[in-house]
């Protein structure tokens, strides 16, 4: 790809057409176009509205439990310093975790859902639809729908319904209707197709609560803005706790909402190295991975142009990851732009490496991380021993891993 010229700021996108360079846009059917424009109009009205902000902040504080803590992971830091010493390096940076796992519903997903449900309420919508892969966004959507009294339909691939049954039950308890999607291969991208089909059918009263920083403009922007609370807090917290900015920040990227939320407030701090972690699955040589930015190419899907896993005919491939939350063959368009502009590095972590990091973090920190977050930790495990002791790394711990214990047990050959 051509490398765009380095901009003065990496934080000004998207442009009026919803583009981040060549990425993003509004690739939707005409039926949806007036709805997207209406959403954009409403979003532009509320994004700087103090009353809207105040309501969101109040809910974030008292309902979701924000701010989330920035935690010095002393156990992991010590472990990695031992590794460094054993290699004769004598280093090992300090590792901090941004504790999004401590939020209500157990992940960063609630940040976006609270923002969007307030938007839906303002727009006078009567019904919420959402797509979900692992079920985290489905649970967060069902949660805010319950809290604000909206009927909620969650589309979930039939394959995911089978492998994430506790979250399916949670959504049902919260009053949502979970519709299994058998089209395609029954995973997240098929759920997203089906949610779009619902939206195109129920245009009058339905709000589509997209779970990640992807889809047609203005979704990538508004989801990013709702998630940027992560990076804004982390930046202030590290300045308070360490008196300086971190050297490196790391987050896992599926669609990329936790990562863009973490990264965006740091983008113009050029001294901060920013690394996004893609799901390397069983390796990038085959097709069993979800590393769209490392092994895919730009294409158009689900309303935006972005890096996709696709074949030479432009047909979208099904990815693979041990983590259902990273199991998506695309990525948010702003990540694609940050990749091509060189501001953010994107590297893959394999299933096995994530699993090791999951076990390690559980053992040395007493924290069971989500498998998504374990990908980010795994990269820290790789690079921290070679860093200096006075350096600082922040890993976004985007969610807790209770939901993943069945997957991990089966990977380890155990039955629970």
């Amino acid at each position: 790809m051509n490398k765009p010229a380095t901009p003065n700021s990496f934080r000004t996108g998207p442009d009026e057409q919803g583009m981040f360079g060549i990425f993003g846009g509004r690739f939707v059917a005409e039926t949806l176009m007036p709805l997207i424009l209406d959403l954009e109009k409403n979003w532009n009205e509320v994004k700087n509205d103090p009353d809207f902000r105040a309501e969101l902040t109040d809910l974030s504080t008292h309902y979701a439990g924000r701010p989330s803590k920035l935690y010095f992971a002393e156990g992991l830091t010590k472990h990695l310093r031992d590794v460094s010493s054993a290699k004769g390096l004598g280093g090992g940076a300090k590792v901090y975790f941004k504790r999004e796992d401590l939020n209500h519903t157990g992940s960063h997903k609630i940040n976006n859902c609270l923002g969007q449900i307030l938007l839906a309420k303002r727009m006078g919508k009567k019904r919420i639809i959402a797509e979900t892969g692992a079920g985290q966004h489905g649970v967060a959507s069902a949660t805010v729908a319950a809290r604000f009294g909206f009927p909620c339909v969650v589309y979930m691939g039939a394959t995911d319904v089978a492998r994430q049954s506790p979250n399916v039950f949670r959504m049902k308890l919260l009053g949502a209707e979970v519709r299994p999607v058998t089209a395609g291969h029954g995973t997240l991208k098929d759920a997203m197709n089906e949610a779009l089909r619902d939206w195109v059918t129920n245009v009058e009263d339905t709000y589509y609560l997209i779970g990640t920083a992807a889809g047609p403009h203005p979704y990538p922007e508004l989801v990013r803005d709702f998630q940027s609370v992560i990076g804004t807090e982390a930046r202030a917290q590290i300045l308070e706790q360490e008196g300086r900015l971190p050297d490196t920040i790391i987050a896992a990227v599926g669609g990329g909402s936790n990562a863009i939320g973490m990264f965006h407030p740091f983008l113009d701090d050029r001294q901060v190295r920013i690394i996004g972690i893609e799901a390397g699955g069983r390796g990038l040589d085959g097709i069993e991975h979800c590393a769209s930015m490392n092994a895919g190419s730009p294409g158009v899907l689900h309303g935006n142009r972005t890096y996709l896993l696709q074949n030479a005919d432009g047909q979208i491939m099904d990815g693979h990851s041990i983590s259902a939350g990273l199991d998506y063959p695309g990525v948010g368009p702003e990540h694609s732009w940050l990749r091509d502009s060189g501001r953010v590095e994107y590297v893959p972590i394999l299933d096995d490496e994530a699993l090791e990091a999951f076990k390690l973090t559980t053992r040395v920190e007493g924290i069971i991380p989500a498998l998504e977050s374990a990908h980010a930790i795994a990269h820290a495990v790789k690079i921290v021993p070679a860093m200096d002791k006075d350096q600082i790394v922040i890993v976004n711990l985007s969610g807790r891993g209770d939901k993943d214990v069945h997957t991990v047990a089966s990977m380890l050959g155990m039955e629970i």
Binding site: F27, N202, D313, G314
Partner: protein, 279 residues
């Protein structure tokens, strides 16, 4: 510039009847069968052919067309082969307009410039690309118009009078009115509503207005055709193919014949549309 679409629509206007626009999925269930289906369409009374370009993620399509696309992809269909279907068809028919319908990504990956050259050479007359609204006209619509290929836009019940001019601005060939908010193959909207929507659009453009989404029977074609310049039938045709395929995709009867039987009936419908309207 006039295209086969312009000429065909003008001819039907002098005949005083609406066009029967028939959609089939390119490569469903395999290349040779779909070529035989394509050839059968005009013989059975189709005036314009819409050929579906299969895509893995057809967000605006109902279960029937989704399944047809997957059958085609499983049968090895690609955009290269879809264009070849058109040129093979053209060897025996240089009159019937061919419109490609589908989603943008396969064209984007093929390369827009190369695609337009190859599409023109294959005898393609028009394009309907579901996920390219007027806001994205620079992507394909403008280059297509320059290449002499019609870009047929969808107008929908959500396209209000304020937005219609934007939608119609770079549209050529005909306007495709989507009869309801929904996906292909859903139930047809109230015909009275459709008729007034067609009238509304005609107030903004001189282009022919064809109506699709939900038209399945000869009777529906007749009623819709009373007011519209054309009637588009897709899901019913795709289903006629699916109905003669066994559980493993084996043919239990000739798909081209099944499609021809259906299309003959639909052709009767559109040919009696204006008679009915005059009654």
């Amino acid at each position: 510039m006039t295209t086969r679409i312009d000429r065909r629509m003008a001819k039907l206007k002098t005949e005083g009847r609406p066009a029967l626009v028939t959609y089939f999925m390119g490569g469903d269930p395999d290349y040779e069968t779909s070529l035989s289906i394509m050839k059968a369409l005009p013989k059975a009374g189709a005036d314009v052919i819409e050929m579906g370009m299969p895509f893995s993620d057809p967000m605006a399509d109902g279960p029937a067309i989704q399944a047809a696309g997957l059958r085609a992809l499983k049968g090895g269909q690609t955009l290269v082969k879809t264009l070849k279907l058109a040129s093979d068809f053209r060897a025996g028919d240089d009159e019937t307009p061919i419109v490609l319908m589908g989603y943008y990504n396969p064209i984007y990956i093929y390369g827009v410039d190369r695609f337009l050259v190859d599409a023109k050479a294959s005898g393609i007359d028009g394009l309907i690309v579901v996920d390219l609204p007027p806001e994205m006209d620079e992507e394909l619509c403008i280059p297509a118009l320059k290449a002499g290929i019609n870009f047929i836009r969808l107008a929908t019940p959500t396209t209000d009078d304020k937005r219609l001019p934007k939608v119609l601005q770079n549209t050529s060939g005909f306007v495709y009115y989507v009869s309801m908010t929904g996906i292909t193959g859903a139930a047809l909207a109230e015909t009275g509503k459709v008729a007034s929507a067609v009238k509304r659009i005609k107030g903004h453009t001189d282009l022919p207005v064809c109506v699709g989404f939900g038209v399945k029977t000869a009777e529906q074609a007749r009623v819709i055709g009373a007011n519209a310049d054309g009637v588009v039938v897709g899901t019913a045709i795709v289903n006629a193919v699916a109905n003669v395929l066994g559980p493993k995709g084996e043919k239990t009867a000739d798909p081209a014949e099944a499609v021809a039987t259906l299309v003959s009936g639909l052709a009767q419908g559109v040919r009696s549309a204006r008679l009915a309207a005059a009654e």
